[in-house]
Subunit: 441 residues, 2 copies
């Protein structure tokens, strides 16, 4: 992966890094690629341990992705869900953050190649680069649809939706061209949560904002290839979600895949068209493309095949966690792409590294402890499936959703601001962050 | 200003607009250009009055510009100081917002030409388009310096400053090229407040964020052409500001104008250079260029010459308020470019319009009631000059600054979030919004 003439430099650098680690005996250097749920959990597990840690991310902030849809629907500010990475690891003297884009990993010479500095040598590597939106080959998605995987995606979607309303307000003829219709592609938790939140934004907020616009013509159309939403939930939760979405006016097109996306909307495989000026693509993800260049065995979705302990076959010093890893349970079933899987896997990998560092023999199989899944549809409405067969719905599900997300959000300030915004949104029926970020001139 | 073939359309439109105003007798239509302090104050004065009002702005939000420097220094989120314009006028049935860029005003046919819809006919017009950053002919400012007049400017400056630290962290050789030095051009309130806040950001926050970077080499250099900062304040306040800035490590270069700005920093007129990778231009403003195309008498800084009542000579139906107006007191001295001047002028113009609408005879001279000026230098440090010769400084000045800005900030949610962030920043010595917004790929 790396030109041969770099080998000498890399070897020298590896030595050098160990030499400057600042203690008498050079501490092993752990590099973590990715500041998402997995990367942060790994860093926190390694805090204060006899290793030095470098956390590499292309952004200087962690993205609390479960709340991206709330940024996209003006309920929260982008900053509210994006705690600074250096702030997160600030109190851990053995952890340093590096803002940079990872171009490649030199597995042979144990170095991470970044775009803005010399290669970063490692003794142990945790790859936690997550997943990216995937169009699964559907034409037009990359050009005409907005994904919802990053903070930029969320602010872009927020601006787009609000701008469409402004355009229709200035020129009502645009309504017939779908200016007020949003197609949400994908009926997983993200698509369901976004659809419910958009419908509430339209009926509760924008209907009051636009005095001369017939906002009752605004529509959210949720399109899902399989005949159900929330495929990983129980049938009872699926029915609850469908009822709650329909109660909010969301149009459901289930069981019909999207054939293509274009500038006028989407075309379904049964030939019907949905005219819409805004299409959001929540229909699936694939592993971060960083995995493509490493020469490792991968699944169809690009995930790196890993050993039972999440290490890479042939590279016991490299671990892969979260959406990037093709981890399975004992029965060979892949673990779901959820934040708790990434966090638990990252802690397992970090503990495995510490076992190796301390020479304590073999590492163990990673087992995901399922703490449940949740999805919120809107005001006082959510479904939650907890361990031991506990199902929550309605207000109780919603309150547990709110509480858990506040707990998992990082940092006191972010929690306080999110709580304040939620309280405001609930009691005022408002969404306080309706900002269209101007296009650069 | 408008091609002749548009005249018929405009005349027809003017009739049409009056016809559809929704009451038996068509209500006069007031168009307000600009959603800043002036535009909002005018709209609020006209709320519920027997007129219809259209508030036109290029953004869908009001920018609370006195706190832009806090966004630029990661103390507040952009959303915190940008309440949605439709939200502000939501409860006023007779006021509607229009998001659009004003291209021109057809003073003869009483219509505002926007970029995204038909011309907006008016019976009365309030021009409150404010001011823009001006380089006063200094070479390189437009290319190499960042202004601090808009929300985009503030987020761009925030990203730039933080990115420079990241670059220096990845490559310490960049420190010698000024990666950690910021030149603030202009010693008015904006320049002083920004300089103090940057110095505190560096020493209190970034010094802890960057464990391997010598942040003590970071520097803020405030350059001002005249020999004092805060030119409009009393000598006592000026001295206080200088002392407080120096106590925070801000380097002051007073009495030396900037000759040019380039990619390496600034060159002063005395030939000395200050190497800096970030230059902020707070050295002056001029009237919004919208004034340039109207064919009206203007001052050297582009402000529109107005009558005593703020109406335009020859156009009694057009009023100009705030930074766009060359309003003077009885002695012919121009009023300062301050939010209170814009707000008081806008209220005066709105009341004058209502007098005309009600046929109550002559309008009166606009008199600015000086409520004082304030500038904060940093934590527990501000100077305030209130009426009756009351001067405040230190903690007392700072608390009055905080309180007044909370009061003038619009909307309960924004006040609550700003208060929460300030409390957090004060007690934690943190700045919670350290986000580098990624460049588009």
């Amino acid at each position: 992966m790396v030109p041969a003439d770099r080998d000498v430099t890399l070897a020298a650098l590896a030595l050098q890094t160990r030499a400057v680690s600042g203690t008498r005996a050079p501490l092993p250097h752990v590099v973590i690629v990715g500041g998402g749920f997995g990367g942060i959990a790994a860093a926190k597990t390694l805090a204060g341990k006899p290793v030095t840690v470098t956390l590499v991310d292309r952004n200087n902030f962690h993205t609390f992705s479960p709340l991206l849809y709330q940024v996209a629907t003006s309920a929260l500010a982008p900053d509210d869900i994006a705690p600074n990475l250096r702030g997160i690891v600030r109190r851990s003297r053995n952890i340093e953050a590096h803002l940079g884009r990872v171009l490649d990993v030199d597995l042979d010479h144990h170095a991470v190649i970044v775009d803005n500095g010399p290669p970063i040598a490692y003794d142990y590597l945790i790859l936690a680069a997550g997943s990216v939106s995937s169009d699964f080959g559907v034409p037009g998605v990359a050009t005409h649809a907005i994904p919802l995987k990053s903070l930029e995606d969320a602010t872009r979607l927020r601006s787009t939706v609000l701008r469409r309303f402004e355009e229709a307000n200035a020129n009502p003829a645009l309504i017939d061209e779908g200016a007020l219709r949003v197609v949400v592609a994908g009926g997983g938790p993200t698509g369901v949560e976004l659809s419910g939140a958009l419908a509430e934004l339209f009926t509760k907020v924008l209907a009051k904002d636009f005095k001369n616009l017939d906002v009752s013509r605004a529509e959210v159309v949720l399109v899902e290839a399989v005949p159900a939403v929330l495929g990983s939930f129980s049938p009872a939760s699926q029915r609850e979600a469908v009822e709650e979405l329909e109660a909010r006016g969301v149009q459901l097109r289930l069981g019909t895949p999207i054939a293509r996306v274009d500038g006028d909307g989407v075309e379904l495989t049964d030939g019907t068209r949905v005219t819409a000026r805004t299409v959001v693509w929540c229909a699936g993800v694939r592993a971060n493309p960083i995995a493509d260049s490493l020469g490792l065995a991968r699944t169809r979705l690009g995930e790196i095949v890993v050993n039972k302990d999440l290490s890479v076959p042939g590279h016991p010093e490299v671990f892969v966690v979260g959406d990037l890893a093709a981890a399975t349970d004992r029965a060979g079933r892949p673990y779901p792409q959820l934040a708790p899987v990434a966090m638990q896997g990252a802690r397992h990998a970090a503990r495995s590294i510490m076992r190796r560092v301390r020479g304590r023999g073999r590492t163990t199989r990673f087992r995901y402890f399922n703490k449940g899944v949740m999805a919120t549809i809107g005001r006082r409405s959510a479904v939650a499936e907890l361990p031991l067969g506990v199902h929550l719905a309605g207000t109780l599900g919603w309150l547990s959703w709110l509480g858990l997300h506040l707990v998992f959000l990082m940092g006191f300030r972010n929690r306080a601001v999110v709580f304040l915004n939620w309280a405001w949104n609930y009691f005022s029926w408002d969404r306080g962050n309706r900002i269209i970020i101007p296009d650069p001139d």
